[in-house]
């Protein structure tokens, strides 16, 4: 595990370097690469202030030092579009996205795993075939179409849920009411994200379990007279889980792209939406900040998956997850 941790630190460093060097190595001066359109609105004084603050006219080495020390203090630059420091903007958006991701990830993983186990256990029988057809259909609908459909159905035709935003504006809710309001707003985006992820999770679990199902230890478990459910979950599903979680961790990056369009569709005030706005308005500091935060999030999720895996599957304490995938 110590080795894996080293990998993560290395990856993190590389991301920081990229984030620092890419804009600076672009043709033209650094300040226009970093601030772009916003420069036009800037007074010469602010420009000079920025030059001075981030040492943009200094040699690269010195700039990097400054960059790191700023980063350490959470200073990611200043957003002229939002008229606030980038760090602050990001911190405002992050909880929304995180709760969206956490909830959809949790539910889609749980549902996908249980459904996958049950289908694989009845391989080739009615339940399995019906599940496969359903999943294929679901998988065939592009995520944004799904989002829009849900929006239309449950937002317009049957207006059970709010259709945009993360909370009702100008309402002075307290405690549980506030939570309820949040959840109502969360429901449709989270459902969309869950449905987007479900087919993959289902297929992963199903195929992983199909491989495990034929393993001798399943026969052993059955042969000692265990109840079928015990065999299915305690012995089979548990052993089949590691590759699934690894793949889930690896696909977090993809999840963030889904988050992007889901947040846009539902005007959900998270990172995706922020990123979208920043892109539209060429707000480079925010864009860079978003990218940095997202990649760090992806790394963290991967780390989490790794840790979880090691808890579940003792083989991984020595083996690499990927080796296990190859073995399966």
């Amino acid at each position: 595990m110590r080795k894996r941790l080293g990998d993560y630190i290395l990856a993190f460093l590389i991301i920081i370097m990229l984030n620092f060097f890419l804009p600076r190595l672009m043709p033209g001066d650094a300040i226009s690469a970093l601030y772009g359109d916003a420069l036009m609105e800037m007074s010469p004084q602010t420009e000079a202030y920025l030059l001075e603050r981030y040492g943009l006219d200094k040699p690269l080495g010195e700039q990097f030092g400054l960059y790191i020390s700023n980063l350490a203090q959470g200073d990611l630059g200043y957003s002229y579009y939002f008229r606030a420091p980038v760090g602050q903007v990001l911190v405002g958006a992050l909880p929304w996205t995180l709760s969206l991701i956490a909830i959809s990830l949790l539910i889609s993983a749980l549902a996908g795993i249980i459904w996958g186990v049950e289908a694989a256990w009845r391989r080739g029988r009615k339940f399995d075939r019906a599940s496969l057809v359903t999943i294929m259909l679901l998988n065939g609908v592009p995520g944004f179409v799904l989002g829009i459909l849900l929006l239309l159905i449950f937002g317009f035709y049957m207006p059970w849920f709010p259709i945009s935003g993360g909370a009702s504006p100008y309402m002075d809710y307290s405690g549980w009411e506030q939570l309820w309001d949040y959840l109502q707003h969360l429901f449709l985006p989270a459902l969309t994200l869950t449905l987007v992820q479900l087919p993959r999770n289902f297929m992963l679990m199903r195929s992983s379990l199909l491989a495990v199902k034929e393993k001798p230890y399943i026969y052993t478990a059955r042969n000692k007279g265990l109840r079928d459910r015990m065999v299915r979950y305690r012995h089979a599903a548990r052993s089949a889980l590691a590759p699934v979680i690894t793949r889930l961790g690896m696909s977090i990056g993809l999840l963030f792209t889904s988050v992007l369009f889901v947040e846009i569709i539902f005007a959900y005030p998270g990172l995706g939406n922020l990123f979208y706005l920043a892109l539209q308005h060429h707000d480079y500091p925010t864009i860079h900040g978003c990218l940095l935060l997202i990649t760090v999030c992806v790394l963290l999720f991967n780390l989490l998956a790794d840790l979880l895996n090691q808890k579940i599957d003792p083989r991984l304490r020595e083996l690499d997850a990927r080796q296990l995938l190859e073995r399966a």
Binding site: W121, R122, R123, R125, K213, E214, K215, P216, Y217, I218, Y219, T220, A221, R222, N223, K224, G225, L226, R227, D228, M230, R234, H235, R238, S239, I312, D313, P314, R315, E318
Partner: protein, 625 residues
């Protein structure tokens, strides 16, 4: 305790042959109870009756259905069509619902499954898995389970440091020990061990065997193994399974030492013994694949003594009394049954108290006053069974060749009787005589050199056919070619017209062999078939002879003066000394535990033997009476 009656198990073909773990309620309920063409019958009318306290060994080749039998007893072949009945303590198991099976498994009947990769769940610590069967029975008694589990693990040789280890850190032997502990935790009434030691190395194997000997004492156990040694070690009684049918049952020691059924015999012959020097002979032919299981006696495609009836009528098991060995099993009645139309391995040749003596000429007689006769063979009895190699060994002058000639019907004995297929050999005439002389062939000492130099190869080999008036010239030619092919000689026109003086010693010997085999005899008596050849050719001829013996299935009496050769070639070795067979038995026994002092001198190193002979410690037969 366990009564299996006419159990037939067949798998549906559609399941692309994979052994899928089947959901219990997936068993085909609507299948017609007659085996259709789309069924592969793995077990065919198996009968077995296991008494409490008996240890049964099930032996048979790979694919004979041993594991299927075990899994059927555990209710683990849900997808298969099962007919017949399995009564366990009076309760019919085949009518069990999946729930009932779950209750039974791991409590009343436990099984250690055949090792095939990861046998233990990788994500659970060892002791948790050991405890599971107990916790299923008594869900609240976690402490007892823990205590029992620890005790058992220690008993099978895994101490505390193993308890919380995960399976991927255990060796195969350790896993096997753990599985044994797991099967024992509920103290089952019937324990099934499927190939308990097969996948282990020799050291671990003997450790586990010791453990099993200790653990199985007093239990009712089914041990399944293709390893005869394991079965001999553990079991009281044995059942021999071939193509899903039981061909022989009886006390384990008897069946495996003195097999009565042709298949058991072949199996024992093919089995390597650590003690023995015997050359291995595989069972001729191929093990029939599942979809081509023979009708009638399942072994008839490979049996050397099959009759017409064997190919269409299945033999019923009958009792046989051939228990020459004292059977020592504390339980069981020593009953022995085989399923064979010919009541087991046939006896081909038997002689009783054969004596042969030659009149001495005057000069010799004078030196031994009052005794004008030399007894070359003095009271020999032996039996040769179908497909057997009997190696007759002894020093020169001990009477081997004389005995050989009598057995071949060439010479008449002075006293005693020889029976060929139960008929007195020297009282035959007419058609019987003709039949006998065709079926009983002798390859004389130096027969290669003795071949007539006026005949070419073709004439030499076809001569026996001509003498016996068998076939027309065309069919004879075919027979000649076939015989020459058997002995690996060319069948070109050039070679067929070669004369003996142009051939090498090895080639001549092969021609002589072809000459003996062209009649397809049932018994071949080969007198020193290789003695006059150099070592390398000698080895080739012997190898060829044994290979042909195995393939063609004739019985062979191999006369030789070399004990090493006799031990390598023979199923049975007879040591001849001064006209008597002083010792007889399986080669391993004769070599390792010689009883007679003469054999002891033979088994000592060659130099010792020469010394002894030089010292005249061994009296020369001619000087004795």
């Amino acid at each position: 305790m366990l009564e299996i009656n006419n159990l037939t198990v067949s798998f549906p073909v559609s399941h692309n042959h994979e052994r899928a773990y089947q959901h219990p309620d997936q068993a085909p309920q609507n299948v017609q109870p007659e085996a259709s063409a789309s069924q592969l019958t793995v077990l065919n009318k198996v009968n077995l009756s296991v008494q409490t306290g008996e240890i049964w060994g099930i032996v048979g080749e790979s694919g004979s259905g041993k594991s299927t039998l075990a899994l059927t007893l555990m209710g683990m072949v849900g997808e298969a069509l099962q007919q017949g009945s399995i009564k366990f303590k009076g309760q019919e198991l085949l009518e069990n619902s999946p729930r009932c099976w779950e209750k039974l498994r791991g409590s009343a009947i436990s099984m250690v499954m055949q090792q095939s990769g990861e046998m233990l769940t990788p994500t659970l610590p060892l002791i948790d898995q050991i405890m599971e069967p107990y916790l299923k029975l008594y869900p609240r008694q976690k402490e007892t389970a823990q205590r029992l589990g620890s005790q058992l693990l220690r008993r099978v040789g895994l101490d505390e440091s193993y308890f919380y280890r995960y399976p991927h850190t255990l060796s195969g032997g350790e896993v096997q020990r753990a599985l044994i502990a797991m099967a024992l935790i509920t103290d089952p009434e019937l324990l099934i061990l499927d190939e308990p030691v097969s996948s282990l190395d020799v050291r671990t194997k003997s450790d586990i065997l010791n453990l099993l000997t200790e653990i199985t004492a007093g239990r009712t156990v089914l041990v399944i193994s293709h390893d005869l040694h394991t079965v001999k070690r553990l079991a009281h009684r044995t059942a021999v399974l071939y193509c899903g049918a039981i061909l022989e049952t009886g006390p384990a020691a008897d069946c495996l030492q003195e097999p009565a059924h042709p298949y058991t015999r072949a199996l024992v012959r093919a089995y390597p013994t650590l003690e023995g020097a015997r050359e291995l002979q595989g069972i001729r032919g191929e093990f029939p694949p599942l979809n081509q299981r023979p009708e009638g006696c399942p072994f008839h495609t490979r049996c050397t003594q099959s009759l017409d009836i064997c190919s269409w009528q299945r033999p019923e098991p009958v009792e046989v009394g051939r228990t020459s060995l004292e059977h020592t099993s504390p339980i069981g009645n020593g009953r022995r049954q085989i399923a064979c139309h010919r009541a087991g391995v046939l006896e081909l040749l038997r002689c009783e108290n054969v004596v042969q003596r030659y009149k001495l000429d005057k000069k010799q007689a004078n030196s031994e006053p009052g005794n004008n006769y030399l007894e070359a063979v003095s009271g020999v009895s032996l039996t040769l069974r179908e497909g057997e190699v009997y190696a007759l060994v002894g020093e020169s002058g001990s009477g081997k060749s004389t005995l050989g000639r009598i057995l071949a019907g060439v010479d008449r004995p002075y006293r005693g009787e020889v029976f060929f297929q139960q008929q007195p050999l020297h009282k035959m005439f007419g058609a019987a005589k003709k039949e006998q002389s065709r079926n009983l062939q002798m390859l004389f000492q130096n027969s290669g050199e003795a071949l007539s130099h006026r005949l070419n190869v073709h004439e030499l080999v076809s001569e026996p056919l001509q003498i016996q008036k068998i076939g027309d010239p065309k069919s004879r030619q075919k027979a000649v070619r076939k015989a020459l092919e058997w002995v690996n000689l060319p069948v070109t026109g050039h070679f067929l017209h070669e004369y003996p003086h142009h051939l090498s010693g090895g080639e001549l010997q092969r021609v002589a062999l072809a000459r003996a085999l062209v009649l397809e005899p049932k018994v071949l008596i080969a007198d020193e078939p290789s003695a006059s050849l150099d070592a390398s050719v000698q080895a080739k001829i012997i190898k060829l002879l044994l290979h042909l013996q195995n393939e063609r299935g004739f019985a062979l009496i191999l006369i030789t003066h070399e004990l090493a050769l006799a031990a390598k070639a023979g199923d049975k070795v007879g040591v001849m000394y001064q006209g008597k067979i002083v010792e007889e038995g399986p080669p391993a026994k004769v070599l390792r535990y010689p009883q007679h002092w003469y054999t002891k001198t033979l088994t000592d190193t060659d130099t010792d033997r020469d010394l002894l002979i030089g010292d005249k410690t061994i009296p020369h037969p001619k000087s004795a009476g």
